[in-house]
Subunit: 331 residues, 2 copies
């Protein structure tokens, strides 16, 4: 086994080979693709794919291109999601539709999805049908997750139109399934049985949900230096996070929460007031505890999947370490 950093390096080398060494033509189509891949990202999905393969096999070379398919697909979703969400910045740089234009982001995104499928071509015949099927279902789920997210924007929290269960389904499809499928695909390519690779999928899915909930939590209660982005961003954007959904579910007098939701501050001191106001409501409702319980629920679900995995202690420990690392937990 290697470290996540080592798997990542293998992926970076492959990105270099596939996208940067040979410049594809026409450049108007391929430069935006090179750009989004060049401005970074943690390469988490492909690294997990290689890790999962390595759990079952010494040989991981044949999983590198399928792993990169996952990263390429993920970055394609960023191009299109950024148009839909009207985001100007991504990883500290201008988004593709801002740096170029929307048509470029649409078409280069389309090409990128096809490039992802091209990276599945070399897969051995005995695995190809199964991998293609997982990749398709996962990709479709990611689109469904994005649609559910857009539907959410139209619903009213004030009228309690967003139940917690639907929120979990949305984040599961929008972010967790691709993480989960990365592990599952890697396991299959390493020779794992359908049953074993399915357990890794469930491990990844539950862990992904826990991670997203923790992201919601850190936005309100995190340490800016550790979290890496400004605290309170979700509150200022009235984002329908787990915390806000839960607050609307529990609060007796909605008016005071409605007041903050309907307040759109422009000055910095007003922004701080809104963040503080909402945080106080969260505190009064013990939202932090409730969210931590929910995170722990999914975290423990993930670990439970490992129990029945047919792997030796050390290999299970690698997955546990990763789970703890992802959620910034002390072991």
């Amino acid at each position: 086994m290697k470290s996540l950093a080592e798997y990542r390096q293998i992926i970076e080398n492959e990105i270099q080979k596939q996208f940067f060494d040979i410049k594809k033509q026409p450049k108007e189509l391929f430069e935006p693709i090179e750009y989004i891949l060049a401005i970074g990202g943690k390469r988490l999905r492909p690294a997990l794919c290689l890790l999962a393969c390595n759990l079952f096999s010494h040989e991981i070379e044949h999983a590198v291109k399928p792993a990169l398919a996952l990263e390429t697909f993920h970055n394609f979703t960023l191009l299109h999601d950024d148009i839909m969400d009207k985001s100007d910045m991504r990883r500290g740089n201008a988004t593709v539709h801002k740096k170029w234009n929307e048509n470029t982001a649409i078409l280069s995104g389309d090409a990128m999805m096809i490039l992802a499928y091209q990276m599945l071509e070399g897969i051995e015949n005995k695995y190809l049908a199964q991998i293609l099927s997982i990749f398709n279902q996962t990709s479709l789920d990611v689109c469904i997750g994005q649609q559910l997210d857009m539907n959410f924007e139209q619903l009213s929290l004030q009228k309690n139109e967003v139940p917690q269960s639907e929120y979990i389904e949305m984040i599961s499809k929008k972010t967790s399934v691709l993480l989960a499928a990365s592990l599952q695909m890697g396991a299959i390519l390493g020779g794992a049985s359908a049953d074993q690779s399915e357990k890794l999928f469930q491990f990844g899915k539950n862990l992904g949900i826990a991670f997203q909930l923790q992201d919601d939590l850190l936005d309100v209660f995190g340490d800016e230096a550790v979290f890496g982005k400004k605290i309170g961003g979700d509150i200022l954007a009235n984002k329908k996070t787990f915390l806000l959904i839960k607050a609307y579910e529990l609060i007796e007098n909605k008016q005071v929460l409605n007041h903050w939701i309907q307040f759109f501050p422009e000055r910095e001191d007003e922004k701080r007031k809104k963040i503080e106001g909402v945080r106080e409501i969260y505190n009064s409702l013990k939202i932090k505890d409730l969210t931590e319980k929910e995170i722990l629920f999914f975290f423990n679900n993930a670990l439970a999947e490992l129990e029945n995995l047919d792997l030796d202690f050390n290999k299970k420990q690698v997955l546990k370490d990763f789970a703890n690392h992802l959620l910034n937990r002390q072991k």
Copy 2:
């Protein structure tokens, strides 16, 4: 062998089964997909796929879903192209981004591309890798063709920046290769050798180019009742067709052509004047003859590919009949 109409009917039945009998959720994602498939189209690509399969095999059932993948992919490109080209109407109905909005057209288009790939899942293992590879390359070529088309819009005909050869490459990628790949995929699924199916690809590619050039020609010199759309539309839109590119290549005094290009009529009688004016220039340069020669060149290229096909006379005749039918030729 069946008639094209019979292959089409098989495809219509499969569309019914896949898209209309069971309504997929969430409806916001899938309704636009059902809509674009319901408002018609000639189902030419999937029908050709079945026809090609049937040339080599009595059994075509296993080619129906892959054939539908081609139609689904084709319709996905319509959703995204209509956004990029800002088209309001498609097949006499509002385009998806007009009936809903751009985000819907982007995301439903993405989902539609994935659905196309899902329809390849059932392909027998011995064919799957080959079909996936052709489908990927073709899909990427279609995106490249769309990009080349958008690049064209930025070039100046007045400065002769658009050579004829680049135009042929653009229409080849944007429209011909999918037609060609439909035949190739069908042939492979019918058990044809790589060499035989490649010949069918070349037949389809050349025929597709001839068809597109004829479309350019009919826009200027066609009979409205037969052509099915208004004559002169390309001229009014200053579309860089084969005819206009050729005219700029041959004309000695560009000024008179520039005059019409820079004239944007609003009244109907002015529009007729522009169409007449450009047509007169075409006549003086014998553009109609030149275009017909070019069409015949690609048409004959297509037929030449049939010579070395290992099929009996009657089956080759089916392909010749189709070629003549597509180009509205009397035999």
